[in-house]
């Protein structure tokens, strides 16, 4: 038995709080557009090109994403984007995405030479996996973006990918379903998503 079993006043309050607001389809459209804009970045472009011939949904995604990115630019230009928290801001929509707005600003502030991607090698040991890819904030956690190559002995996977200098959170996606940390890298708690990620610092040589 709980508190509410004994207390009609409390139960009545709970019933009041359970009332669900009606579905606002305009709000749903805004959410979907914002999400698509947030994923539409330079890192996504190869995926869009690669998938363009595959099906209708990806073309729709691309179209909605482009429209949403334009809408986001419009919002920012008109000063209508409210402050506070992480937003699919213009920097996110037009530049490679990063974990926080602060990082995005830092990335934008460095010179072109400093922001030039650096080749970074990732190695992962898993003999049973059929497919492994590197996913991280540098490729918007897209498992199709950086598929790793299996070594000749079959147990080691590796990939060399260009990454913008800075601190990045990443992991390995095993068989497109299991997110695994890099056992050789420090890990950090992702405060937003409640999961851990591995950390790599990418710098100029």
């Amino acid at each position: 038995m709980t508190d509410a079993d004994h207390d009609p006043l409390l139960q009545r309050a709970i019933d009041e709080l359970r009332q669900v607001p009606p579905l606002d389809r305009d709000a749903v459209r805004r959410v979907v557009s914002a999400a698509a804009a947030a994923r539409l970045s330079a890192a996504d472009e190869p995926m869009f090109v690669e998938r363009a011939a595959r099906g209708r949904s990806i073309r729709i995604w691309s179209a909605i994403g482009m429209a949403a990115a334009a809408a986001v630019v419009g919002f920012v230009a008109r000063g209508q984007w409210r402050t506070g928290g992480e937003r699919p801001a213009v920097a996110t929509a037009l530049a490679p995405t990063s974990a926080t707005p602060a990082t995005t600003l830092q990335t934008a502030a460095v010179s072109d030479a400093d922001a030039k991607p650096v080749l970074q090698q990732f190695v992962f040991d898993n003999a049973r996996a059929k497919r492994v890819s590197v996913v991280g904030d540098f490729n918007t956690w897209n498992p199709s973006s950086a598929v790793m190559t299996r070594s000749s002995d079959g147990g080691l996977w590796s990939a060399i990918i260009p990454i913008t200098p800075g601190r990045h959170i990443y992991g390995f996606m095993v068989d497109d379903s299991l997110f695994t940390l890099d056992p050789r890298a420090p890990k950090v708690r992702d405060a937003d998503l409640g999961t851990d990620g591995s950390v790599v610092i990418v710098g100029r040589p």
Binding site: A27, V32, G85, S177, D192
Partner: protein
């Protein structure tokens, strides 16, 4: 005799005493909404925007209800729900299907709301320093004709008095229907502590409402 406030609530007194009787409440936690088709989530994971739209349509209203009750500034609820869905979409490739999708979504949304409340609290501290101004600010503890004394408003105002850390667990359990073991997995807080938080939130809510409707 039925007091006006009780009549509005549909509560009736029995005999001469002040004993309230209502229809029995058989359900304490709401039943979960029909689970989303796992294929929809898998398709969204692979970037299918139609599947993601279906997810947003399925959960947007519930998320909005939760955010409005959680946030110090309920007007920010829609923005916060949008932010949670954007984060979810970006993190979808990392979603493991052995997790319950709904728990994961509310975990993200809870984090967003907590962050917003922290920022709002900091803002309050920085901006309200004048005692004269504070004295004029209407509060639920003092009579003010500007307050709308409707039941729904009173409930929400009473809930807003419950500390954030107790209110969140109360909402997850009683309003969103998560079992304690699931909330434990979502928050990392032990079940005994969760039950205590829900009890404290319930006690405070009941006390606040009883001042007017008891």
């Amino acid at each position: 005799m039925t007091r006006p406030s009780q009549a509005r609530l549909g509560l009736k007194t029995a005999g001469r005493g002040n004993h309230l009787t209502t229809s029995p409440f058989s359900l304490q936690r709401p039943a979960f909404a029909a689970a989303l088709d796992p294929k929809t989530i898998s398709r969204a994971k692979l970037g299918d925007i139609d599947a993601f739209t279906a997810i947003v349509e399925a959960y947007h209203s519930r998320c909005l209800r939760f955010a409005r009750a959680m946030l110090r500034n309920p007007d920010d609820a829609e923005d916060m729900v949008q932010e949670a869905f954007v984060r979810l979409y970006r993190a979808l490739p990392r979603y493991e299907e052995r997790q319950r999708f709904e728990s994961w979504l509310f975990q993200i949304l809870g984090n967003c709301c907590r962050t917003a409340n922290t920022a709002a609290r900091r803002h309050d501290v920085q901006t309200v320093e004048d005692d004269d101004v504070l004295a004029r600010v209407p509060s639920p503890d003092m009579p003010d004709t500007q307050f709308d004394h409707e039941w729904g408003d009173d409930v929400r105002r009473a809930l807003a008095d419950v500390p954030d850390y107790n209110r969140e667990i109360f909402l997850l359990h009683y309003i969103e229907g998560f079992a304690y073991d699931e909330i434990e997995r979502m928050t990392g807080i032990k079940q005994s502590a969760l039950k205590m938080r829900v009890k404290r939130a319930s006690d405070m809510l009941r006390t606040r409402l009883a001042e007017r409707y008891g």
